[in-house]
């Protein structure tokens, strides 16, 4: 009797385990395309890419490539011989330190605006997501050296052939400096704000996906919470800081990480452009790869640091 029960129990247990295993197997089958792709295609590419940074590559006359082991030489070249790399790296990261908060805050703000009920909301939404679809790849390249738009923005109408005009800026630093000089606000802060305003097109273009993610986050907040807030007599300001902000904070983390990755790997990024330039010089292919890998390591470090700092403050409604 007891024996039977034990048998039954063990049978049951085994059956549950096998269902779990079956589900696990199904899971493996579902992720199989990625696994195969990663092992067969992606991993060899990554591996070769790292391997090549330790070689000098020169093309053979009959086609194909000559490899010569040089150890850390490419890295040494990038760090110590190339005069501009370290400088570009530092200034690029410094610039992004300003850009990324601007993009995250801007996209949160716009998402909240676009989430409100108003006339023409659908039209505005459609317009705001145009850059997500279109301002990439070819168009971004086209836009990055567009002298005609600079010419058309200019108010002086004099064509000096270059199409460059100083008045293409929306606000000039001088105006703002005059305005804020008496208020004793730091000069750097003023310059930063002016830079952000002048780069508004760039920032709008780069915050499309973030806006979508924030919008999705805002939609998932239960209206009942807002209703109870209203009944309790909270103002819109309080509601934002007590409800919207904590509820949206996971999205802020996601967006911060996405923005970092996106802007660090964008083609318009100064460091990426510099690496691109190096690629086209002699022996540049491998040196630029070495640079790119160092850059990549730095990006990972920054992502991990930011994610670590943010996730300490992120509020999750339910933990599972």
């Amino acid at each position: 009797m007891t024996n039977n029960a034990v048998k039954n129990a063990s049978k049951k247990k085994r059956r549950i385990a096998s269902l779990d295993r079956r589900k696990a197997r199904a899971g493996w089958i579902f992720v199989l395309p990625f696994l195969i792709g990663f092992i067969v295609v992606y991993f060899p590419i990554i591996f070769d890419s790292i391997k090549l940074t330790f070689y000098h590559v020169s093309s053979k006359p009959g086609g194909g490539m000559d490899l010569e082991w040089v150890g850390w030489d490419n890295y040494r070249q990038a760090l110590f011989v190339n005069p501009d790399f370290v400088q570009t790296l530092i200034s690029g990261i410094g610039k992004l330190a300003f850009d990324i908060p601007a993009i995250v805050i801007f996209s949160l703000f716009m998402a909240i605006l676009l989430n409100q009920k108003m006339a023409g909301r659908a039209v505005f939404r459609a317009i705001f997501f145009v850059p997500v679809i279109i301002a990439t790849g070819v168009m971004a390249t086209l836009e990055s050296n567009n002298i005609l738009s600079a010419y058309m923005d200019s108010t002086s109408g004099i064509n000096d052939g270059s199409g460059q005009s100083a008045s293409a800026q929306i606000v000039s630093v001088l105006d703002f400096e005059n305005l804020f000089d008496s208020m004793k606000v730091g000069k750097e802060l003023v310059t930063m704000v002016v830079d952000i305003i002048n780069n508004i097109y760039d920032i709008v273009n780069r915050s499309g996906v973030q806006m979508l993610i924030f919008l999705a986050g805002l939609q998932s907040i239960s209206p009942a919470i807002y209703e109870s807030c209203q009944i309790e007599g909270a103002s819109a300001w309080e509601t934002f800081w007590k409800i919207t902000f904590p509820m949206i904070s996971p999205m802020i983390l996601v967006n911060a990480v996405y923005t970092i990755i996106d802007s660090f790997t964008a083609e318009s990024n100064t460091v990426m452009r510099f690496i691109e330039q190096v690629t086209n010089t002699a022996h540049g292919g491998v040196i630029s790869s070495a640079m790119a890998w160092m850059y990549f390591l730095l990006v990972i470090l920054i992502v991990v640091a930011v994610a670590g700092i943010f996730s300490a403050y992120v509020f999750y409604q339910r933990r599972d």
Binding site: A26, V31, F129, I134
Partner: protein, 351 residues
């Protein structure tokens, strides 16, 4: 206060036996208007609405102006670019640029090629990303987290890092050296020795798409995973209880559910492939096949000039070509943008 009392207690006169007359003391129109429009609440709201509208219109303008200016300059003739009085409206109206791009740069050939590669890549990417994301969202298996980290990794690695290695790998594409081995022992023909040459075909793009490791596929997988997580487990469990297998459940229940999200991903994949210039430039060098990035960087022969406004005119030609490249995308976007927001909204991405 008075007005309210008056409404509550209307004057009732008895006119005849069966008829009464009720006299409401209506608040005069002026006061009613004042109550509605004279309060600080109303002004606050008005200010907010106006501020919001101005801001949204302003930013919409910032987004749309490059397109407007590009379209405007595309209708200009050569003389307009040296005329300082011309801003947006062409004086010397001409369609030369359009004609030249259509006839001389092979627009339709590029269109057909790009359409082919974009549609196939987008379908492959949507499908495989769905599969992979579903696997990550609904099944717990060992290595789940690690694999997902790898997915994120593919998104983080900057593409130029892989430029040289990717070119090399696809030039002699080989599945982990297996083809080479098989050719060595004469199972495969000798042509497979050192792998097969895949550059200058679309195959590298298809392979990357099928493996869910193409451009930004990490983002799609992330989005879809969040979406599938929001689908209640009970739905699948009831299907399992009714005897449906994992795959049947996926194809008959989950896929129909996630059509808006899939359209979103398809839209992203399609348009990012459409405007892609990294992979196409790297793997499909100019000359073999006309693609859109050739169109954008070429100047039609009939329009080559040597006069003062050359720089601006050439830029206008590039811009026009660019607009023509994205015109199909814009048309598609107008039809699909509804799904874009819908799909994202329903995903309920939560941390």
């Amino acid at each position: 206060m008075d007005a309210q009392n008056a409404v509550k207690q209307p004057k009732i006169k008895k006119e005849t036996k069966n008829k009464i007359r009720v006299d409401f003391e209506r608040t005069p129109l002026k006061e009613r208007l004042k109550a509605k429009f004279g309060t600080t609440f109303f002004y606050q709201k008005l200010v907010v609405v106006i501020f919001r509208l101005v801001l949204l219109i302003g930013i919409s303008y910032v987004i749309l102006f490059p397109f407007i200016s590009k379209i405007a300059s595309s209708f200009m003739g050569m003389n307009d670019f040296v005329d300082p009085t011309v801003r947006l409206i062409a004086k010397d109206f001409s369609l030369d640029i359009y004609k030249a791009v259509f006839t001389e740069l092979g627009y339709w050939e590029a269109f057909a090629n790009t359409l082919e590669v974009s549609i196939i890549c987008a379908i492959l990417q949507t499908f495989t990303c769905c599969l992979v994301a579903y696997g990550f969202a609904k099944f717990k298996f060992r290595g789940n987290k690690l694999l997902f980290m790898l997915v994120m990794l593919t998104m983080i690695v900057p593409h130029p890092t892989m430029r040289l290695a990717m070119l090399q790998n696809f030039k002699d594409f080989d599945v982990l050296g297996i083809m080479d081995l098989l050719a060595k022992i004469n199972i495969l023909p000798d042509g497979f020795r050192y792998g097969i040459k895949l550059t200058e075909t679309f195959w590298p793009l298809y392979i990357l798409s099928a493996g869910a490791i193409a451009f930004k596929n990490g983002l799609y997988i992330f989005m879809l995973r969040q979406f599938f997580r929001g689908v209640p487990d009970e739905l699948e469990e009831s299907a399992y209880v009714d005897g449906s297998g994992v795959f049947r459940t996926f194809f008959t229940i989950i896929i129909p559910l996630s059509v808006p999200m899939m359209i979103t991903v398809f839209l992203f994949a399609f348009s990012w492939q459409w405007t892609d210039n990294f992979y196409t430039e790297l793997l499909l060098p100019t000359g073999r096949m006309t693609l859109f990035n050739d169109i954008i960087s070429d100047i039609p022969l009939s329009l080559r000039t040597d006069y003062a406004g050359q720089g601006l005119f050439y830029q206008a030609i590039h811009n026009t070509a660019g607009m023509m490249v994205i015109a199909p995308l814009i048309i598609m976007y107008l039809f699909c943008q509804r799904y874009l927001v819908q799909g994202i909204e329903r995903s309920g991405i939560v941390g």
